[in-house]
């Protein structure tokens, strides 16, 4: 798994608390259509909050969000869109369904960073190591540390998200037809 870029360098995009996964982060319509292509979804992230924002995002930019980011019915589309845009996510908290979806989307994420929104304003230059949990604001010259995801979840992200990890598992283990494990 070498070569995976766990450290991102880019601009901060800072959001407040309770950004909804449906509506704020991604139009609900994509969830209802079960659209799961990150390349399609990337063009619609945050359209409920700022319709022009997706076009201004650059790969490597980092979303810094408050509490309960991506709250609501845990649809994966908003998280897939963030990953498609090449972003990282640093959030004060993420409700569990969306946290799971962030991992399954293959999104570089630090999901439990109390006080993160006080550590940057939109436009600051950031450098975040998502494997080690190190957050550097290069504009301010400050550094914070928060817990990274546990290694098994980082392995899913390194693989490219759940779909890719599952394909790898199938290739390795085979499906039930070949390897029926009973307890």
């Amino acid at each position: 798994m070498s070569g995976f870029a766990w450290t991102l360098r880019g601009r901060a995009w800072v959001f407040g608390h309770d950004v909804a996964v449906d509506g704020d982060l991604m139009p609900l319509d994509f969830a209802l259509r079960r659209e799961t292509d990150p390349e399609v979804l990337r063009h619609h992230v945050f359209s409920g909050l700022d319709p022009g924002l997706a076009a201004r995002l650059r790969p490597g930019d980092i979303v810094v969000a408050g509490r309960r980011f991506a709250q609501g019915n845990p649809h994966i589309q908003g998280l897939l869109g963030l990953r498609g845009a090449g972003l990282g996510l640093v959030a004060e908290s993420i409700p569990s369904g969306s946290r799971r979806n962030a991992v399954n989307a293959g999104l570089r994420v630090l999901p439990a960073c109390p006080g993160a929104t006080a550590e940057a304003v939109t436009g600051d230059e950031l450098e975040v190591d998502f494997a080690e949990g190190v957050f550097r604001n290069r504009t301010r010259g400050t550094e914070r540390r928060w817990p990274p995801l546990p290694p098994p979840l980082r392995a899913i992200i390194e693989a490219g998200g759940w779909e890719a990890a599952f394909r790898a598992r199938l290739a390795h283990e085979g499906s039930a037809a070949q390897a029926d494990r009973t307890t």
């Binding site: 399954n104 199938l170 039930a176 307890t183």
Partner: protein, 421 residues
């Protein structure tokens, strides 16, 4: 020192686990519903998976749209039957053969205390009413079907000590709504909420289902009630062998311990946009109602139908109001028939729909139009849940819903003492 959830997951994973561990447990049962099973099959095909792990332990219930009322729905049902045959699903409960899949597996003894059930729906928490652990997985249910397991982070447990007794005119639904309105979302998030304590002795398995169902709306991973003599009696009454219960150890490490005083609860109405936005009924009394429904995996049990029937007996649904009643399972409908409840509903001018999710499943049955106001016992009230996103959706207990349907305006059921005394 493990919690009940840790013990259940330890057995399923084949190794001792603690909260925070990431493991691959093998569930005792996997459940899917009629609106997802065809998507699951398409995903299996997309990944080239030809056979499912332990298909005899896969349960499919036709509950979201049991009566196909469009060519597309009829086709989807046909496809679901073909999928069930092709993948050899062992527990296919089609139209008329069970009802709502979060409930009849308990009634039928398919789900028993201490079991681990995984599937595509947050309301698998219902199985916690008998001390089983239901965990929701989303798109990765495909991996669960193909490989028998999928990654699972062992959840922490939040212990809730239930005490006191519900006052007249107040139901367990009110207690559950109040609980999610008052609890700190950060404390509940991703936890298994475990209810225990002296207040539970008066709550049968139906009422416990309401409690564990509503709790997940605030973001709990799942919920369960510590099994006890009530559960043993329930199982014995159905001819199901009573296993030794899986309980949290006295020195188990919980995320927190909080209180729920049933005696302090009053009738609640959840306002838009979310179930936890509950207020005392007094704040909305008199508000016009166009649409009312009793049913869902939260509140469609025989106890709920008895409460509603007590209000509706000898009364009529108000002009301009339509009331739908959906027994949650075939067994509940049969029991309601034996007790004469269906006759009461019918004579009151309510519309009965077939067992299953009823109105709550997206309003495909008896939905709402723009500008309408609904009060019902469904699980959620997000805008658009019952059809038009411009309708106002409120949630309440079966007593409050029935009383409001009769009056045509939101009504405090305590003003109808003859109904519940």
């Amino acid at each position: 020192m493990p919690t009940a959830a840790e013990k259940i997951l330890s057995r399923a994973a084949g190794l001792p686990v603690r909260a925070g561990d990431i493991v691959h447990p093998i569930p005792d049962l996997v459940t899917l519903h009629d609106w997802y099973v065809t998507h699951a099959a398409a995903a299996l095909d997309r990944f080239g998976v030809a056979a499912v792990h332990r298909p005899e332990r896969v349960l499919v219930s036709t509950d979201h749209e049991p009566v196909a009322t469009s060519p597309a729905a009829a086709l989807r049902q046909r496809q679901a039957r073909q999928v069930a045959t092709r993948f050899r699903f062992g527990l296919f409960h089609d139209v008329g053969r069970g009802g709502l899949g979060h409930v009849f597996p308990v009634e039928h003894g398919i789900v028993r205390p201490g079991m681990l059930i995984m599937g595509y729906d947050p309301h698998l928490s219902n199985f916690g009413a008998v001390g089983a652990l239901g965990l929701c997985v989303l798109n990765e249910v495909t991996e669960l079907l193909a490989c028998g397991t999928v990654w699972t982070e062992v959840p922490e447990t939040l212990r809730v000590r239930v005490h006191g007794r519900l006052r007249p005119g107040v139901t367990v639904r009110d207690a559950a709504q109040r609980f999610i309105a008052q609890a700190d979302p950060a404390l509940v998030d991703d936890a298994v909420v475990e209810f225990a304590g002296p207040g539970l002795a008066a709550l049968g398995v139906d009422r416990r289902m309401t409690l564990v169902n509503t709790t997940v709306e605030l973001g709990a991973r799942s919920a369960l009630v510590e099994p006890d003599g009530v559960v043993a009696e329930y199982l014995e009454g159905r001819g199901v062998a009573v296993p030794s219960f899986v309980l949290s150890d006295p020195d188990a490490v919980f995320r927190g311990e909080i209180d729920l005083d049933l005696g302090a609860v009053t009738p609640q109405v959840a306002l838009p946009p979310r179930p936890e936005c509950a207020v005392p009924v007094e704040e909305v009394v008199g508000r016009r109602v166009d649409h009312a429904y009793i049913g869902s995996c939260a509140s469609g049990f025989i106890e709920d139908l008895r409460l509603a029937a007590a209000v509706l007996r000898g009364r009529r649904v108000a002009p301009g109001v339509r009331l739908f009643v959906t027994p949650v399972t075939q067994d509940v409908q049969a029991q309601a028939a034996r007790e004469g409840l269906l006759q009461i509903f019918t004579e009151a001018g309510a519309a009965l729909t077939v067992p299953g999710c009823g109105v709550c499943a997206g309003g495909r049955i008896g939905g709402v139009a723009q500008g309408e106001v609904s009060i019902g016992t469904g699980t959620r009230n997000d805008p658009g849940r019952l059809g038009s996103a411009d309708a106002t959706l409120m949630l309440a207990s079966p007593l409050t819903v029935a009383a409001s349907a009769v009056a045509g305006v939101v009504t405090d059921p305590r003003t109808l003492p003859e109904a519940w005394s």
